[in-house]
């Protein structure tokens, strides 16, 4: 604590922040390496690709678990079960385009299983888990939209993804100073960067057929 309050401590903090602010911007992902290539590499056993997949899909899986009404503690167990199940079954994925739907289905089934015990006690299944015919094998419109949005987010750069998710989070507006440091962009360019990211996302959503019946 004393160190933080000493002049040297401040200096260290300042240097540290400057080094973060001056580092080169994060590279944009190679446009020739879209989502499907990442999934294919993970299927073939590429550890970096798997880690990137987990990073990208963790919010999707967590949103399914939380909307399924599980407690945080049980939800964390299920979260891990989902990815363990996905890893075990990964080599069986013959069509990478179906990966995210498959992952979402695993998550819903595991949440569904948790609700089996509660159902026996008379608790109704949460609306979120009900598909068109009330089974876990069909996706509701909201879930299909969530998949589509996740796919679109996966089509934009990592920097854009972080910026957009920070922008769309509920509550107080994001701390743009902190965000600029995290993303490695000058504070003054955050506005234009955000506008470009929104355009990229809109293009990705359009290419996925947003607006069309899906």
């Amino acid at each position: 604590m004393q160190c933080v309050c000493s002049p040297r401590g401040y200096l260290l903090v300042e240097v540290s922040l400057r080094s973060v602010a001056m580092r080169p911007p994060m590279p944009e992902p190679d446009p020739a390496e879209p989502r499907l290539d990442l999934i294919s590499r993970a299927i073939s056993g590429d550890r970096d690709a798997w880690q990137e997949l987990v990073q990208r899909y963790s919010a999707l899986v967590w949103s399914v678990i939380r909307k399924g009404g599980l407690s945080r503690e049980r939800g964390e167990d299920v979260f891990q079960e989902v990815f363990a199940a996905a890893l075990t079954g990964l080599r069986g994925v013959s069509d990478p385009a179906r990966f995210d739907g498959w992952l979402l289905t695993i998550a819903r089934r595991l949440v569904w299983r948790e609700w089996e015990a509660r159902r026996r006690a008379g608790e109704p299944l949460p609306e979120e888990l009900r598909g068109g015919d009330g089974t876990p094998d069909t996706l509701s419109e909201a879930q299909e939209t969530r998949l589509l949005v996740q796919r679109a987010l996966n089509e934009v750069s990592s920097r854009c993804r972080q910026l957009l998710l920070a922008t769309f989070a509920q509550g107080p507006p994001p701390n743009y100073d902190k965000l600029a440091r995290t993303l490695g962009v000058p504070r003054g360019s955050m506005g234009p960067t955000r506008a470009r990211c929104l355009e990229h996302l809109a293009r990705a959503l359009k290419s996925l057929g947003i607006g069309a019946k899906h």
Binding site: G45, W50, Q51, Q55, S58, A59, L60, V61, W62, S63, R66, K67, E76, F79, Q80, E81, F83, A84, A85, A86, L87, T88, G89, G92, S94, D95, R98, W102, I106, R109, L110, W112, E116, R119, R120, G131, D133, G134, T135, D137, E141, A142, T145, R146, L148, V149, Q150, L164, L165, F168, A169, Q170, L198, E199, A202, R203, L205, K206, I210, G211
Partner: protein, 188 residues
């Protein structure tokens, strides 16, 4: 220009835009504990380096072993061309219902009708993708008490469901593969 305006310009209708914004909010709010993400991300290297991953995984979460066992059947059920239970469709007539599903490469469609005077249900028709249906293909119904009724598909022609009204889960097993999470339906 905001996303809503961009999407609208791209031709999306208002309802679609609202759905996208809602799901973006949902994903943005779904902040996962970084330690949890890191642990899941470490699964692949751990599995490669540690043949005893399963034993380790048991320590990570209470039911992880079950999840891994189940994943094998999910991989079959979710990814191979056919053997996923397609769901239970009720016929328009509340006195009949139809089940479509399968396992181990066998697809089944069968229909039950209500017996008079609340006597239960009986099978009135079945279509299988394999003829003859291999032995060992079974159909199970599980009621809310967990009690199971099993029937060999070969015997289904003689099988009267005899299920009282209520909620059930059903599953089809074949070749050692059971459809994963049981499909639930309510007898009308």
């Amino acid at each position: 220009m905001e996303l809503a305006a961009l999407l609208h310009t791209a031709g999306a209708d208002r309802e679609a835009v609202l759905r996208v914004i809602r799901e973006l909010h949902s994903l943005a709010e779904s902040t996962v504990d970084p330690a949890l993400v890191a642990r899941a991300a470490a699964l692949m290297p751990a599995a490669a380096a540690q043949p005893d991953l399963l034993a380790r995984a048991r320590a990570w979460a209470r039911s992880i072993a079950d999840a891994i066992d189940r994943a094998a059947s999910e991989a079959v059920a979710g990814l191979q061309p056919m053997p996923q239970i397609a769901g239970v469709r009720r016929a328009a007539d509340a006195d009949r219902f139809r089940i479509e599903g399968g396992a181990g490469g066998i697809e089944l469609r069968f229909e039950c009708e209500r017996l008079p005077r609340g006597a239960g249900w009986r099978l009135v028709g079945m279509v299988a993708s394999a003829d003859p249906v291999p032995q060992g293909v079974t159909l199970s119904f599980v009621d809310h008490t967990g009690a199971q009724r099993l029937a060999d598909v070969d015997d289904l022609a003689m099988f009267e469901c005899s299920l009282p009204d209520g909620s059930y889960a059903c599953a089809v097993s074949a070749g050692g593969v059971t459809t994963p999470t049981l499909v639930e339906f309510s007898v009308p």
